[in-house]
Symmetry: C2
Subunit: 333 residues, 2 copies
C-alpha cells in the first residue's frame, strides 16, 4: 500500500521555507502480527519540530534528509493484527507527516472519545498541556494572587499555561503578537490582560503598565530579547520557566545576550529550562489534572486547522513566523 | 569616649578608590542599661560591602555619605551593663568600620572559643560558610561523583563551597586568578583542579580541558563573561548557583549579556540567584553542619590579615580587584 508523505528535501539554511520539504509517496510494509495500519486524521504542528530538521537538534533525533518529517498525530485504525485495536478505533502516536502508517501495538495509545474534541489530546489534554502543567508545578510553583506573565500566550503551551495559572488563582498576563491574538486570549481563554510584543521598543513600557507591582512568574516560550525585557520586571525571588526558546530555533540575527542577567543574582531569581521529556513518569498525573480542569470548563483549546497533508510545511513555517493562532493542526481525510 | 572610624567620603564613581573613604573619630554615646562597649578585633571584608556604598545597593541599606561603613566583625567586650556579657568576652555583630562601638545585648552574638581560630566565625563557620552550604543544599543539590565548578574559588564563599562539595563526594574544580591562588586551593583546600581565568580568551578551552565530560554544577560568584563561558560546558539538567555577581558590582564596561542563554532551555538548566538573607531560619542548621565538617578536618579557612582599621578601605579595594586571597580580615588592636 502507498502512503502520501512529506519528506525533508534539504537542511534548512536560514529561515525555514516550504521549499525545504518535498511531497511524495512511499510503499508501506506488509502488516505484521501485533501491528496496526493507521490513517492519519490530525497531525500536530509544534515548534520543537523545527529543531528536528537540523543536523544537531536541540531536542530529539534529527530527521534525515529524504526522511519523513517526525511528529505526533491522531489517526484511525484501518486494519489491525492485534487484539488491542479494531478498525475504526482512534489512536495517538508518532505518526509523522504521512497519510498512512504501520505501527506496533505498543507504539500507539488509544484515544478515548470524551466530552472534548479529540484534537485537544494533541494540545491542552496531551503533551503540550502536560508540559505547561508540569513546568508550572515543578518549577514555578504558583501561589494564589501572584502575577504570571506568559509569552507566546496564544500558542498551545502558552495558552495552556495561562489557563492553568488562572485556575490556580493567579493574575495572568499574556504576551502575543498583534491585537487579534491578544483579544482572543482574553475573551476566549480568560487571561486578565494581553501585551502586544510589537513594536519591541514599547514592550518594556507595556510590561510595566500591565504589571505595575512586578512579575512573580514568567512562563517563557520565546527567550532572547523578550526574556531580557521581562527579567527587568521580575520581583525578588521570582521564577522564570524557560519552556521554549522560539527566538533561538532558527539562525538569523541572534539577540546579543541577556544584558539583565545580574538581576538573577540581585533579585535571587530562579531561571530554569524545562522539557516534558525529562518527566515521563509524571504524564499520567498531569493528564488527570488537565482533564479535571477541562471538565470544569477552566481549560480549553483554540484550534487552527490546516487542510490536508500538503499544508503541513506551510503550517510549520507559519507557526514559526507567528502568523498562526492556538493549536495548529493539519487535518487529513 | 572616642572611636576611630572610617566613613564614606563620597559615592564611588567608577571603580572604588581608597579616596572614597575618610578616617576620623566619633564620640560614642554613654553606655546605657542592657548595652555593651565593644573593641573591634577582627573586621570582615566582603564583596557585598561594595554595594552598600551605592545610593541604591543590590542588597541591604545604603551607607550614607559621612556615615560609618557597615560590616560584620568580632570584638572584645570592654564594659558591660548586661548580665549576658562580661569584660573579656568575644562577640560578633555589625560592628562597622570602627575601633569601638556600643551595642544592645540582642544585637551581638557570643563567640565561643573552640578548636578553630575565631576568625573562621567570620568566614567558613559564619555567614559566608552558611551561604555556601545553604546555596549548595537548596539549589544545587550535589550528588556524589558530580563535577562542580566554583568561581572566585579562593574567595571566602567560593573556598567554602568547593570544600563542602568535595566533602559531598563531588569532583571540584576552582576558577581563580593566577597560579598562586590555583595552587593554594588545590594544596591547602583539597580542590581537584584549578583553572586560571586569565587570559579570558583561553578560559573556554581550559574549562573543556578540566571538565571533558561537562559540568553538573556551577557555583558562581562572578557572573558576566565567566558565567557565559561555563554555561556552554553545562551538562543537561545542570544547576548554576548565582551566589554573587562580582563582575557587576562596579560600573565600567559591562559584559554585553549572556549569549548562551538559550542553553538554559535546550539543556534544561536551573540558574538561580541566592542570598543568605532569604534563609535566616536555616542559619543554625547550616552552622551545625559547618562545624561538623571543620571538626572533621574537611573545612578550613585561609586568612589574609590586614593591619589596623586604616587598612580597611585598601582591603576592600584589593578584594574587588582580585588581589586578595581567602578570607580578608582587618585586624585591630
Amino acid at each position: 500500500m502507498q502512503s502520501q508523505v512529506i519528506t525533508l528535501a534539504q537542511r534548512p539554511s536560514g529561515l525555514l521555507q516550504t521549499a525545504d520539504f518535498t511531497a511524495g509517496t512511499m510503499e508501506l510494509p506488509e502488516l505484521g502480527a501485533g501491528q496496526v495500519l493507521v490513517a492519519s486524521r490530525y497531525l500536530s504542528i509544534d515548534p520543537y519540530q523545527r529543531g528536528l530538521l537540523d543536523e544537531v537538534p536541540f531536542v530529539g533525533q534529527p530527521v534525515p534528509i529524504g526522511g519523513v518529517v517526525a511528529g505526533r498525530g491522531i489517526g484511525e485504525v484501518l486494519e489491525s493484527r492485534t487484539e488491542a485495536f479494531k478498525p475504526g478505533d482512534l489512536v495517538a502516536g508518532e505518526l509523522g507527516w504521512r497519510s498512512h502508517s504501520v505501527h506496533a501495538t505498543y507504539a500507539v495509545q488509544p484515544v478515548v472519545r470524551g466530552m472534548h474534541p479529540v484534537t485537544w489530546q494533541l494540545g491542552v489534554l496531551g503533551t503540550p498541556g502536560s508540559t505547561a502543567w508540569l513546568a508550572l508545578r515543578r518549577i514555578a510553583e504558583p501561589k494564589s494572587g501572584e502575577v504570571v506573565v506568559v509569552s507566546s500566550a496564544a500558542g498551545t503551551v502558552g495558552a495552556a499555561a495561562g489557563q492553568i495559572a488562572k485556575a490556580m488563582g493567579c493574575k495572568v498576563i499574556g504576551i502575543a503578537g498583534g491585537p487579534r491574538k491578544g483579544d482572543l486570549i482574553c475573551t476566549a481563554l480568560g487571561f486578565d490582560a494581553a501585551i502586544d510584543h510589537r513594536p519591541a521598543e514599547r514592550l518594556p513600557l507595556a510590561v510595566g503598565e500591565k504589571c505595575p507591582g512586578g512579575v512573580d512568574i514568567y512562563f517563557d516560550n520565546v527567550g532572547g530579547r523578550m526574556l531580557d525585557i521581562v527579567l527587568q520586571a521580575m520581583k525578588p525571588q521570582g521564577r522564570i520557566v524557560v519552556c521554549g526558546y522560539l527566538s533561538g530555533y532558527e539562525p538569523g540575527q541572534p539577540y546579543p545576550g541577556l544584558a539583565n542577567a545580574k538581576l538573577i543574582s540581585f533579585h535571587r531569581l530562579k531561571v530554569q529550562g524545562f522539557s516534558v521529556r525529562d518527566h515521563v513518569a509524571d504524564h499520567a498525573a498531569a493528564a488527570q489534572a488537565l482533564h479535571a480542569l477541562a471538565d470544569a470548563g477552566k481549560l480549553r483549546q483554540i484550534d487552527t486547522l490546516c487542510d490536508g497533508l500538503a499544508s503541513a510545511p506551510g503550517a510549520l513555517v507559519g507557526l514559526l513566523r507567528g502568523s498562526m493562532v492556538g493549536k495548529v493542526i493539519v487535518a487529513c481525510r
